[in-house]
């Protein structure tokens, strides 16, 4: 079942003149996440970070748009690409960076790292598809309270059988589950066309699960579009799949982008960052500088902290 809503007003990257200006708070959050992610890549290059990290460059607007549609009692489940999801949920960049760097003040003592964070109704974990059955269980517990479980997945996640087992149960049992699909057209290095037959909408429809596709890149517009649907998830207690047509402007993890220059250029053309810089130079330049400097201070401060301590169970 696909919900039909009026076409968004300013959806294409070229449709610049119709782009509404973002609210300052949204721009601040977008740019905080952008500079947080860029800083991680820089720290990696400098040898300051270990392991791996997956940045959400180009996709920041999705959790920012959703942030005001979610309440304190809602439970967010995130995935390997979860820094933006977290920062849009909790304004705690120091704790998150400390977690990623294994420093004092880490959200999870440095045990979880980039992909495994559990903090105040936000939980990320690193196995694809695993979170959807868990989210269904959380939603079952929340059913009737007005709160919902929100799970972020990617287009690649749809290769996992757990997704279908969970969607089936979520619809059968009518649980308030919001599945956010960040369809960026690529699973690590494999284009969606090479790993997915059919469409997400048809797969949701197979389970009678409500599906809605978002093509807008504008935070305010997305919110207006989704608010009644998210309210329906709560009030009617039912699952909803919201599929964002988005673009991954950066590599899968660090320097592992094997896409052609044309493909990378296409993703970059959809990036909100350059467009906002061009369209709204005044607030953008100032907020951009402020957030960049803030993240630089955070990185300097956290890097100087002693290592995190963990009391092993």
């Amino acid at each position: 079942m696909t919900v039909t809503v009026p076409a968004p007003t300013g959806t294409t990257p070229s449709g610049a003149r119709r782009t509404p200006p973002p609210e300052p708070e949204d721009l601040e959050l977008l740019l905080l996440i952008r500079h947080f992610e860029l800083t991680l890549l820089r720290l990696f290059e400098a040898g300051e970070l270990s392991g791996t990290t997956h940045t959400c460059l180009g996709q920041e607007y999705i959790p920012v748009a959703l942030s005001r549609l979610l309440g304190d009692d809602d439970f967010v489940l995130s995935n390997h690409r979860g820094h933006g999801h977290f920062l849009a949920r909790h304004a705690e960049p120091y704790g998150l960076l400390a977690e990623i760097m294994g420093r004092e003040g880490a959200l999870c003592a440095g045990v979880g790292g980039s992909q495994h964070v559990y903090h105040r109704h936000f939980l990320s974990t690193g196995v694809q598809g695993e979170s959807l059955p868990v989210a269904t269980g959380v939603a079952l517990a929340l059913k009737g309270t007005g709160a919902l479980a929100c799970a972020y997945i990617g287009d690649g996640t749809w290769g996992e059988g757990a997704v279908y087992e969970a969607l089936n149960m979520a619809q059968l049992w009518r649980v308030p589950l919001l599945v956010v699909v960040e369809h960026n057209g690529i699973a690590q290095s494999t284009p969606t066309a090479a790993q997915m037959s059919g469409r997400v909408a048809a797969r949701a429809a197979a389970f009678d699960v409500l599906h809605h596709r978002v093509t807008s890149l504008e935070v305010g517009e997305i919110r207006t579009e989704l608010a009644p649907l998210v309210a329906m998830v709560r009030q009617d207690s039912r699952p909803l799949v919201v599929e964002f047509a988005t673009h991954r402007a950066g590599p899968h993890s660090k320097g592992d982008d094997t896409r052609s220059p044309e493909e990378i250029a296409l993703a970059a053309a959809h990036d909100w960052y350059d467009r906002y810089a061009r369209l709204f130079p005044e607030p953008f330049a100032r907020i951009d500088r402020e957030r960049r400097e803030l993240v630089e201070r955070i990185a300097a401060e956290v890097t100087a902290r002693p290592p995190s301590a963990w009391e092993r169970p």
Partner: protein, 328 residues
Amino acid sequence: MTRVSEHLNHALHDLMETDPDVHLLGEDVSDPYGGAFKVTRGLSTRFGDRVRSTPLSEGAIAGVGAGLALAGRKAIVEIMFADFVALAFDQIVNFAAKSTAMYGRPVPIPLVVRCPSGGNRGYGPTHSQSPQKHFIGVPGLSLFEMTPFHDAGELFARMFALGRPCLFFEDKVLYTRRMYEGGVVDDLFRYEVAGDVARVRLDGVAEPDCAIVVHGGMVHRALDAMRVLLLEDDIACELLVPARLHPLPELPGLERARHVCVVEDGSEGGTWGAEVARVLHPRLWSSLRRPITLLSAADSVIPAAPHLEREVLVQSARIRDAIVEALS
């Protein structure tokens, strides 16, 4: 006389009655069917939505149980046949067990996954396994098994009190057997339960020739062997049955036995018994007179035809022969 399946059923009724946070999920668990082995009979009628018959989705059932647990409830998940728990391996190992520790602080995941296990019922290769060994040594995961000596209600309370996911194996051959009561097994043997371990002894024998360690499903075959060993071979054995299989609880009295034998129905290779021996060897090294005897099912699939199945699984005659040989 209470059969083990009835005893488990009563324990679940009591648990759900006294703790409104407990939910139960599994395939065909609702009335009037009440589960493939009738262990959940009456629960859905009495407790409504807290009991759910699920689609055939073992992985997601375990995940939903973990999600309920994460959200502050307690979940019991029934896997219809323990063989199918392989389908839930990711949720149990990578989510439920790891999540208790990987967020840097203890995260309670009160989840019990019930697994009807074991063979000797002619169900064939995919419905007869004892897969305990595949879950040994998973950080954050505890393994328990029903025995005819332990109160199931106390075991459920104990597993939930851990705040960590537990697998609870119930050997299918136990379902129709009776629960032992009053410290008496039969005319020869007496038993006592201390914590996680049941101990079966001959009256007046303080230093047995052999101490046998088994999981719950192996109890009756071990007892049959012990009777024959005593009456025909003049070998006095005692039996230790831990309800917690991993981590292994302290097993009492082994220093006084002339020999130790561990028997299990899992297939050879990387076994629970080998883990028991690993724990016991350093402790008993100075008193052991010979290596601990390990008996397990053959390195084989479990055939359906009864005459073939008997050959693969451990039977009482094999236990007797092995102990006679070890002590000769």
